[in-house]
């Protein structure tokens, strides 16, 4: 079993080897081949080593870390919070073990307990954590002094750890190189110069280009993906036999996530290291895991090899999690009616399709620029075109998904639509209000009242977007304050619509859970009976199960009230689940719009293909059979976009014309638009088949 998995894993990792993996080709080549980069973190010679040598070719599944009946408690003045309640977890050597659960399930605390890194006042109240050292000794981590020498050796030397937020896990006051070199000094007994050289090598080994230069950079000068690579370099400095990865890609964009997951896979195979991978994302589990443990309320409810877990979940909670995760189904039908999967046969889409009527909102050539000051006395200025000439239509009753990486201008576009930001150029023609307002992009603030009642927003953060000093009643009344007194029945009705109850009216936001708060946010948005809702990452902060409920609520409201949604998200699977049409944004421009099924089946812009390819499908069989389209490089600095096509610097089809001519968003097929010179010629792969 383990053997066959291992083979599969190796094949996947090698199969995906694009430009990124050139330093590491395959395991066989690695030891003697061009792997100069990797040799920097291979075991150094010298007797003064406490670290272990990875054992190559171990076949028998020997346990590495056995957590037995672990209990972690946080005593507070009011009560005793038990974060982990008798959890059992066994991680085998060379295995990727995924620990899945929703927020508050205790998965992070379990991992932190192993390294005695619990935040005060947390403590291990019971259980054992047996770590099998390379010399055969078995050590109970629960019995070590948190500040003692042995624990400090375990941390980094035997067990490395990477964290959710690479930006905050690196000291902003020190260079990345310094922080990696510190780990080198601690675990390899190197001197200052040697450790710096080793740090540069380590950066190279995690595929950071121009490593010498990057070593001297401060964390805030690096992108999120590079920071996480640097964190990985730190964690690997002491050649640990176990790497704990605590939601390492949650804060990253989907394309960056794909790169980091690839890197972890490759490194795991190169070094025969085990990984304890903590995540809430079943797609990531499907991509990474050999074995999965599902955690809920401090207990492990199910443990299975990954294929078995997805194929035959036993525990009701596991089943619920799997059901709540949006599937990217093969030959999936659209929301309203069955459609042929072959894009060639797709005719005019849903009844609300583009040809049916005039759009409610017509955005034309919309721009929003910011002027950035720099240089002496702030005289040198550069322009940041956050939204750079966007054409967009929103039709009655449809859900338009807007996707793109962070920083692509999605939120700025949404703010322009609501006129929270004043567009720098372009026009927004709307047919929402009875009295015409003219171009929303240009009309004075005082004429926007009615428009803003018709176009409402649901925000990302359910905690920050509700005033903690207002009761639910006040919150719901605020948008309709100008309309005279409102009956209680109306408020109760409104609450009922979003699945809340009359007794909630007098409560303050802190009394509600994240999902309930988002329901309040939705109630507030629909209080004015709008026609369009802009949902900017409205479900991103919610747990999978809650997310599914809120999405259901949104679908239901749409059916009942004929709402149109502009659904902005970085999460492709949620967008696919909810949207009728999808618009893809890159560096302030729309690069493609298409009906959802068609976009996911056969994208017409290379960027869309890359995005889709990076989305992990929550199905290990399908996920591992896919061919990943490698995306090269990082998102360019938005103030220095490439000439011509903004995507050309990362595009595998780029030609000369791409540098000179900016492709316009143009009709490429019925109901489809793409901004690529070669949209018709290139054959791109989607997720759905």
């Amino acid at each position: 079993m383990n053997d066959s998995l291992g083979v599969k894993v190796g094949a996947t990792a090698a199969g995906r080897g694009g430009p990124l993996t050139s330093g590491s080709r395959s395991n066989a080549e690695h030891s003697g081949g061009p792997g100069q980069g990797a040799s920097g973190i291979s075991p150094p010679e010298g007797p003064a080593l406490m670290t272990t040598t990875p054992q190559h070719g171990v076949a028998a599944p020997t346990p590495l870390l056995q957590i037995q009946n672990l209990t972690v408690q946080f005593p507070t003045e009011e009560r005793l919070v038990t974060a982990v309640a008798g959890a059992d977890l066994t991680i085998l050597e060379n295995q990727v073990h995924c620990l899945v659960g929703e927020s508050g399930s205790g998965k992070s605390q379990t991992a932190r307990a192993a390294l005695a890194l619990l935040d005060p006042p947390g403590r291990v109240a019971g259980g054992q954590m047996l770590f099998h050292q390379s010399d055969g000794q078995v050590l109970d981590l629960a019995g070590l002094k948190p500040r003692g020498k042995r624990m400090r050796h375990i941390r980094g030397g035997e067990i490395g750890m990477i964290f959710q937020e690479p930006a905050r896990s690196l000291s902003p006051m020190h260079t990345v190189g310094f922080q990696i070199a510190e780990a080198m000094r601690l675990h390899r007994g190197l001197n200052k110069q040697e450790s710096w050289d080793a740090a540069v090598e380590a950066l190279r080994a995690v595929r950071i280009p121009r490593a010498e230069l990057r070593a001297k950079s401060y964390p805030f000068e690096l992108s999120g993906g590079m920071r996480q690579r640097a964190m990985i370099a730190i964690a690997l400095a002491g050649q640990p036999r176990l790497l704990i990865a605590d939601e390492p890609t949650t804060a990253l964009d989907v394309t960056t996530q794909a790169q980091i997951l690839d890197l972890l896979r490759e490194i795991q195979a190169e070094r025969d290291m085990a990984i304890l991978f903590i995540t809430h994302d079943l797609g990531v589990v499907a991509e990474m895991a050999d074995e999965v443990s599902v955690m809920r309320r401090g207990e492990i409810v199910e443990r299975k090899p990954v294929h078995d877990l997805f194929a035959a979940p036993q525990h009701p909670y596991t089943k619920m999690l799997l059901e709540a995760t949006p599937k990217l189904r093969v030959g999936r039908s659209s929301q309203t009616e069955d459609q042929p999967a072959d894009p060639g046969l797709v005719t005019a889409a849903a009844p609300t399709g583009p040809q049916a009527e005039q759009p409610l909102v017509e955005v034309r050539d919309l721009t929003r620029s910011f002027t950035l000051k720099s240089g002496a006395l702030g005289l040198r200025r550069s322009q940041l075109h956050a939204v750079d000439g966007v054409d967009l239509d929103i039709y009655a009753g449809e859900t338009l998904g807007l996707v793109g990486e962070s920083g692509c201008g999605k939120s700025t576009l949404a703010k322009c639509l609501l006129r929270v930001e004043k567009p720098t150029g372009g026009s927004i023609i709307q047919r929402l209000t009875k009295a015409p307002t003219g171009d929303v992009a240009a009309v004075p603030e005082r004429h926007l009242g009615e428009y803003r009642q018709q176009m409402r927003m649901v925000f990302q953060d359910p905690f920050a977007s509700l005033n903690p000093r207002m009761t639910v009643r006040d919150i719901l009344l605020e948008p309709v304050r100008g309309d005279g007194p409102v009956a209680d029945e109306w408020l109760v009705e409104l609450l009922d619509l979003v699945g809340l109850e009359a007794e909630h009216l007098e409560r303050y936001p802190h009394a509600f859970s994240g999902g309930q708060r988002q329901r309040i946010g939705i109630a507030r948005a629909i209080a004015t009976d709008p026609q369009v809702l802009v949902a900017d990452e409205a479900v991103s902060a919610l747990d999978v199960s809650v997310r599914a409920q809120v999405l259901d609520l949104m679908s239901q409201l749409q059916a009942e009230r004929g709402l149109s949604y502009l659904f902005i998200s970085h999460d492709m699977s949620t967008v696919e689940h909810l949207s009728d049409r999808v618009a893809v944004m890159y560096l302030g421009r729309l690069v493609e719009t298409a009906p959802t099924a068609e976009l996911f089946t056969r994208p017409m812009h290379p960027y869309t293909e890359t995005l889709l390819s990076a989305v992990p499908i929550a199905d290990p069989v399908r996920q591992r059979a896919r061919a990943r389209i490698e995306i090269s490089g990082e998102l360019p600095d938005p103030t220095q976009k490439p000439s011509g096509c903004p995507f050309r610097s990362r595009c595998r089809f780029a030609q000369e014309i791409c540098a000179t001519e900016t492709p316009r968003l143009r009709q490429t097929a019925e109901g489809r638009q793409a901004a690529c010179h070669f949209a018709e010629e290139i054959r791109l792969t989607g997720i759905l088949r």
Binding site: D119, R155, E221
Partner: protein, 334 residues
């Protein structure tokens, strides 16, 4: 970094110019002018200035000119010749009066600031790391006493204790036997000993606030993921404490350089009066009370300039210490 420095210095020159304008108007504020005061003084002595003498004096100080030429004469005198005008009360050039008192003041201020930092740094770190422990409560209590007890009371208590139990001479800069003596090692030591008590008194007040700031800042930093990350790579607790969170919590210390200078100089007025120290504080107070406007204006100008210089220094040190400040202003950051 260079651009950053140029910009900072440029702005501070502008600020200094504005301060000089304000100071000039303060000098000009009382009715009449310098010569009319001089005439009044002469009359009080029973002498009389001739109309010609008055004219000469008015011309010399440009008092017959419009205000901007007067300002120009004043400021150019300061810049080119170090001529700050004349102190009527001391009957000497204002600059002499100031220079006589400034060195001791700076010594006292520097000593007080140094003590403030040492004490606040140590206690701040201790109370942040051992938050909600008995030690934390104890030092917090001590800090608040230092904050709330007026300086002059402390000064009196110190004087009494030092005199009664340690037989030290307090008050003045030197013990009686050294007042007229030539400079020697013993005299210098005596000076330091005499400065220690006022420095400590002035430091107590500043310390309490800085302890609170350090404690709050450091407490925030201690729970940051990068501290956990440093721990997770196996670093020793005391090393990582000083290397990461304390380093990040240092910024308020550096910022105090700017505002510590004026507050220390004005804060020592009362302490110096009580301890009869020949520092600038009492002299400034006297100048203001006696409408000795050139002296007062010069003082204000110098204090203002020191404040600006202190702020620039703290900005530059901050930029040197904190890469986020440094790199963001040089445009190297993304």
């Amino acid at each position: 970094m260079l651009q950053f420095m140029i910009r900072r210095v440029g702005w501070s020159l502008l600020t200094i110019w504005l301060i000089s304008l304000v100071c000039f108007f303060i000098i000009q504020a009382p009715p009449g002018d310098f010569v009319s005061v001089l005439m009044a003084n002469a009359e009080a002595d029973g002498r009389r200035l001739t109309a010609q003498q008055v004219e000469v004096l008015r011309e010399r100080y440009n008092l017959d000119q419009p205000w901007y030429s007067q300002y120009w004469a004043w400021i150019s005198g300061i810049i080119t010749q170090g001529d700050f005008g004349y102190s009527f009360r001391w009957n000497r050039p204002a600059v002499d009066v100031i220079m006589e008192h400034l060195p001791f003041t700076l010594l006292l201020a520097g000593g007080a600031m140094f003590l403030t930092w040492i004490i606040a740094f140590a206690i701040g770190i201790y109370t942040a790391v051992k938050r909600y422990s008995i030690g934390d409560y104890f030092w917090t209590f001590v800090g608040f006493i230092g904050l709330s007890v007026p300086n002059f009371v402390l000064a009196l208590v110190f004087m009494y204790v030092a005199f009664r139990y340690f037989d030290m001479s307090v008050g003045g800069l030197f013990s009686p036997e050294y007042v007229e003596a030539d400079w020697s090692v013993a005299r210098a030591l005596d000076l330091l000993q005499n400065l220690a008590i006022p420095a400590l008194i002035i430091a107590t007040a500043g310390t309490a606030g800085l302890i609170r700031i350090t404690r709050a800042n450091l407490s925030d930093e201690l729970t940051q993921p990068y501290v956990v990350a440093a721990r997770a790579r196996g670093q020793k607790e005391n090393v990582l404490l000083m290397r990461y969170p304390v380093r990040a919590a240092m910024n308020p210390f550096i910022s105090t350089i700017g505002y510590a200078i004026p507050s220390v100089i004005s804060g020592e007025v009362i302490v110096s009066s009580v301890l009869s120290l020949p520092t600038t504080g009492p002299v400034l107070l006297g100048a203001l009370r006696n409408q000795d406007m050139y002296l007062a204006g010069s003082f204000l100008l110098i204090l203002g300039v020191l404040t600006v210089v202190g702020t620039v220094i703290s900005d530059l040190v901050l930029a040197w210490a904190d890469p986020r400040v440094r790199r963001q202003h040089s445009g190297a950051a993304q």
